[in-house]
Every structure is written in structure tokens, then in C-alpha cells.
């Protein structure tokens, strides 16, 4: 699984690539925890190159959202691929987390929340 970060427009943009499944989720969860502990409280998660997500991957994203909320932070997902979007729709994830079509729209929504 690919996990890269960059700062853009005051937010930390995390690009997730590959699979978020039983095997990769523990390491991904740890990286997100480190990111939040390091003080990044505005997080955009770019899913453009994430091919697969299972329930365990969804829990990682929920955990990130929970941790940020506890710190008055915010999170927005962007660029979900067809497969990933399909899983979001099955589980009503679209009602739980904010999901935008592009990183630019996600960054804009972060500004709106301010």
C-alpha cells in the first residue's frame, strides 16, 4: 500500500494507493495516528490510486475521522475510484464522511468549514 503526504493550502493531503485490506490496514492506521499526533488536523485523503477497500479499511478511515474530531480537526475524502465508491455506497459511508470528486473540491470544503 502506498501512503504519501504533502501539505497544500493548509491541509495535509494523504495519497493512499493500492489496497486497504486486512494486510495493509494496521500499518496505514499507525501512519494516520502518527500524522494526527504530529499536529495535522486538516486532512484530505486522496483515493485516486486506491483500488480496493474492505470493511477493515473503512474502519481505518472512521478511526482517523474520530481522532481528528476529538482534536477539533477535520477530514475529507476525495477521488474515490469506482470500486471504492461502490463499497462506500454499500455501507452508507457517503452519509458518514465527506467525500468529494477531487482534491481541489476537498480543499475548498476544508476552507468552508473554517
Amino acid at each position: 500500500m502506498i501512503f504519501t503526504t504533502r501539505v497544500e493550502d493548509g491541509s495535509c493531503v494523504v495519497s493512499l494507493g493500492g489496497r486497504l485490506d486486512t494486510v495493509t490496514s494496521p500499518a496505514c492506521e499507525e501512519k494516520f495516528r502518527d500524522l494526527v499526533s504530529a499536529g495535522h488536523l486538516a486532512v484530505v485523503i486522496d483515493l485516486a490510486t486506491l483500488d480496493y477497500i474492505s470493511s477493515i479499511g473503512l474502519r481505518v478511515l472512521l478511526q482517523v475521522a474520530r481522532q481528528l474530531k476529538e482534536r477539533n480537526g477535520k477530514v475529507c475524502l476525495a477521488n474515490a475510484t469506482h470500486n471504492v465508491m461502490s463499497v462506500f455506497e454499500m455501507t452508507n459511508f457517503t452519509r458518514i464522511l465527506l467525500i468529494k470528486s477531487s482534491v481541489d473540491e476537498a480543499l475548498e470544503s476544508m476552507r468552508e468549514k473554517e
Partner: protein, 362 residues
């Protein structure tokens, strides 16, 4: 007509026929089906001693074919055989192919043999090819000439060894039509074939062979619609499966995924189906994760080509109960995904094992 008892045949250490007992009665059309390499052609070839059996007995019209006192060539004349590769004499014309046997072996006159040959060629729709040579004929035409040649000897029974397997699909129909007509006319036949619809239509009885034995036999309705045994069912429904055993919570998910992907590719399943199947498998295995190590889980993924459905079966040892209901999960995300991907599910207790069956939505 033909009674076979405990027939055995081996090649070196390989037992091709292990214990075959059956009979072919006068007027019957018996289709012999089964996977490749299971001894079907060997059985047929033993019936007219093209292969010499290593044990058992074969009686043709009461004559023991394996008795040294039996006039085997005389008995053989009562049986005709049609081969996958036609076996026409290429140096002889169609007419000569048909008249050779009756003239040399039955003492028929040239005129009589030729008249009969023409009648038979009309029967198989090839009267106009009477003076052609085999190389001038299509595969389907060659096989029809082969059938006519067989009929020229007035056999009591015809053995067909995969008569259409070497034919272009466009020619299969013309040969099967001739065989259907022979069946309607009451010819006794034993047919090794991979054409399941044909076997169902034309046969009185179907014999399913597997691993050198008659695994199951019965009427076409029984064998094709209500097979009693698992391997018969798998064969007639063209079910292909991938099976694996998971005994540890640290099983290699990616290795399993690679095998599932290879299985899907082999069945030429769409990408979306493959993706859904991989997701379903991962989600289902989560319900067993806590128990793995103390239970054994067998997973079978089957593609039923006839119905275009995918079945996932999970059989596990352990306490009775549906793991999807009893497993402690932190939320219902996994169950929601499973329910979105499946058409139906069924739980049963089979002896000391829990059995869960799912059909993937298509």
C-alpha cells in the same frame, strides 16, 4: 447384446479401467460421458478387442470374446466402430471404402455391394460423393462416409468413439443428425461423446465414467437433471472449482487472492465479478478469524457454467452455529458488505461441520 463384467485394463502401473460392469441391450443407445482420460475410449476399444483387457469378461450375443475358442473376427463383424479420426482408406474412393468390407469379408458381389453402398450414401446425404476421395471431403463428410462404411457391414451394434470431437463445430450437427436417425431406426449403439445435449436427446441410458469406473448411470433425466453423486453433478453442470483449506489466522490472503484471480481468469469472468468475489471472500473470512487456529476452514469457490453462477461454500469444524451470527464483530460493516454482494445464503450443520453456502450476485 454386450455384457461386461469386472473389466480391467492397465498400462504399466496405470489402471485405466478398474472394475467395469454393465451391459448394452439390443436396441439401446448408451452414451458414455466423463472427463478426459477416464477410460471411456479404452472401454470401447476393449469391446472389440482393439485393446486386450487384463481381466474380466465381455460377452457379445452370448459369445465370450476373451475365450480362446471364440472366433473373434466373426464376433467383431457384428460390431461396427466409428472413430474420432474417421480412419477412411485415403487411397480408395468413397465407393471403394464402402464396398471393400462386404466384398472381402462377406463375399458380396461387386454389383450388390455397390448398390448397397449407394443406398447408404443416400441415407447419410452423400450420394453425390460416391466417386470422391477422402481428401476431397470435409471432416463432417468424412465422418458420414465412415458411418456409411460401418453400416455396409450390417452390424448389430455400432460403437462410436467421440465421433464429433475432431470436427469443426459447424460440421458437428450433420454427423449427429445421422446418428439420431440411426437411433430412431433402432440401431443398438454405444457412444462416447462430449456433446451433452446430444447424449440427453438420443440416449436411453447414460453412463458417467470417472477414474476408471462407472461412477453413476441412469436415464438421461436422472443423470442430467437429477445426478445423485457429486462428481456427476459437477461434470454435467460444468462446475469448476477452487478449493483451499485455512487453518491459521495468519493465512496468506494475497496468495489466496492470486489463486482466486487465476481461477476467475480461467473461467473468463468479468473484472467486476472477480473484484466482488475477492471482497466477499475477505469479508467472510473475517467472521472466522478469531476461531482460526482452533478450527479448520475449507473454502470452495465454484463456477457453475450452465447457470452462470458463482457459489462460495465455507465448511468449518467447531461448535454448531452460523459464524455470521455468532462471531463478535465491532460493527456491522462486514455483514453489510456481505449482504450487498450475495444473492442468498444458507447455513446447515453437516455431521460435525458448519456449512455456509452463498451465491454471488451477478
Amino acid at each position: 447384446m454386450i455384457t461386461i463384467k469386472h473389466l480391467r485394463k492397465h498400462y504399466g502401473d496405470l489402471a485405466v479401467l478398474k472394475d467395469i460392469t454393465t451391459e448394452i441391450r439390443k436396441g439401446e443407445v448408451v452414451s458414455i460421458i466423463g472427463p478426459s482420460g477416464t477410460g471411456k475410449s479404452t472401454l470401447l476399444r476393449c469391446l472389440n478387442l482393439l485393446e486386450m483387457p487384463d481381466g474380466g469378461s465381455i460377452e457379445v450375443g452370448g459369445a465370450d470374446l476373451l475365450d480362446r475358442k471364440t472366433n473373434v473376427p466373426k464376433v467383431r463383424q457384428r460390431m461396427g466402430m466409428v472413430f474420432q479420426s474417421f480412419n477412411l482408406f485415403n487411397h480408395l474412393s468413397v465407393l471403394e471404402n464402402l464396398t471393400l468390407g462386404p466384398r472381402k469379408l462377406k463375399g458380396m458381389s461387386r454389383a450388390g455391394a455397390e448398390a448397397k453402398a449407394l443406398d447408404l450414401l443416400r441415407l447419410v446425404g452423400l450420394a453425390e460423393k460416391v466417386h470422391s476421395y477422402p481428401e476431397e471431403l470435409s471432416g463432417g463428410q468424412k465422418q458420414r462416409v465412415a458411418i456409411a462404411r460401418c453400416l455396409a457391414m450390417e452390424p448389430e451394434i455400432i460403437l462410436f468413439d467421440e465421433p464429433t470431437s475432431a470436427l469443426d463445430p459447424t460440421m458437428v450437427h450433420e454427423v449427429l443428425s445421422v446418428i439420431r436417425r440411426l437411433a430412431r431406426n433402432g440401431m443398438t449403439m454405444a457412444i462416447v461423446t462430449h456433446e451433452m445435449d446430444f447424449a440427453r436427446d438420443v440416449s436411453n441410458r447414460v453412463v458417467y465414467m470417472d477414474e476408471g469406473v462407472i461412477y453413476e448411470e441412469g436415464s438421461p433425466e436422472q443423470i442430467f437433471d437429477h445426478p445423485q453423486k457429486e462428481r456427476t453433478r459437477a461434470f454435467v453442470n460444468r462446475i469448476r472449482s477452487y478449493t483451499c483449506r485455512i487453518a491459521s489466522p495468519d493465512f496468506d490472503l494475497y496468495d489466496m487472492n492470486a489463486n482466486i484471480e487465476a481461477f476467475c481468469e480461467k473461467q473468463i469472468l468479468p473484472r467486476a465479478t472477480r473484484d466482488n468475489l475477492l471482497l466477499l471472500v475477505e469479508e467472510l473470512l473475517q467472521f472466522f478469524r478469531q476461531q482460526l487456529g482452533s478450527i479448520v476452514l475449507d473454502m470452495t469457490i465454484s463456477y457453475v457454467e450452465k447457470l452462470d453462477t458463482i457459489e462460495v461454500i465455507l465448511e468449518s469444524t467447531g461448535e454448531p452455529g452460523n459464524p455470521l451470527e455468532s462471531a463478535q464483530q465491532e460493527d456491522d460493516l462486514g455483514l453489510t458488505i456481505v449482504n450487498s454482494l450475495i444473492q442468498d445464503q444458507k447455513y446447515s450443520r453437516d455431521g460435525d461441520r458448519n456449512r455456509l453456502e452463498f451465491h454471488l450476485k451477478r
